[in-house]
Symmetry: C2
Subunit: 178 residues, 2 copies
């Protein structure tokens, strides 16, 4: 091997390495945090377009108890529909934020309160989420996938109609009855 | 720079590159598919321990409408509790499987049917999941995080309790009683 060849090879090798994904670079973790903050701010301002702007055009969102939303426009429409009917407020607590190269994810917990604009009691919920993000060619991060679920037990199905009341005696004794 | 130095540097650069994460290597995608298949087989055999063996010891599972499960033992116990009370059957359809170095994820849809062993009607559900996996030092993949949610609309809340049946005295005093 000539010196020139070695040098060329060395430079090639360095170039190849320069493209190796970097994990958890502080600027990437900060970017994911800014997107999370942007989501909370947009959601609490009932700004569906600002939420949509955080997603890639072909993002896939999987909100609990709803059909899968494919594409930014569907995500905006879903959130707009929510905001049309509800005054909603969300809090998010991140538990894990990681990046590897151009891919990253954020995992954590949410607390949500929704009050129907037409009146009626507020509904509270809390649960977990995983949001996946990608860094585009321009260096900016966007959400590509998201999923969340409630950690609250499912409401019991509506009970069968009660048997005709007949002064049912209360069970005595142990009182374990359940 | 001497030739020796260049050579040393070149080798160092190659070594550094050798550790650059490889994306979607066929053997990694196949390994994730085998874990998915293993999960379906274990679940449909009601084998909680076999499910647990697919997870890392410190995995975090977030089943819908349940508390977060931290650690393999908690995941086994949760599944065992399910299998104790239900005859359950799951089908999984993957939509996206990616790996990047030692990290990977699988995203898709599930269909679930659960029949109470104590009798009563079967309950069906379908939804989406994201499972995250890591490749350990020994080269084998394990699940580290998972979350799923239903795409079926929430059941309507139970109607308010009927007015107290005649004869049953209403608790007095507190009023708000809870």
């Amino acid at each position: 091997m000539t010196r020139r060849l070695l040098l060329t090879f060395g430079i090639f090798a360095i170039s190849a390495c320069a493209s190796a994904p970097e994990a958890n670079a502080p600027q990437d973790i900060a970017a994911l945090g800014a997107i999370r903050d942007g989501y909370v701010k947009a959601f609490n301002a009932a700004d569906a377009n600002a939420i949509g702007a955080l997603y890639t055009s072909d993002a896939i969102a999987m909100p609990g108890h709803n059909a899968t939303l494919t594409g930014q426009a569907a995500i905006v429409a879903y959130n707009q529909g929510l905001f049309d009917h509800m005054t909603a407020r969300i809090e998010i607590t991140p538990d894990e934020t990681r990046t590897m190269g151009n891919f990253g994810f954020d995992r954590g917990r949410y607390k949500l309160t929704m009050t129907p604009k037409a009146g009626g009691p507020a509904v509270s919920d809390e649960g977990r989420y995983i949001v996946m993000l990608e860094k585009g060619a321009n260096g900016s991060w966007k959400v590509t996938r998201d999923i969340d679920n409630s950690s609250v037990a499912m409401p019991a199905p509506a009970p069968p109609p009660p048997a005709p009341a007949k002064g049912k005696p209360k069970p005595k004794g142990k009182g374990k009855g359940k």
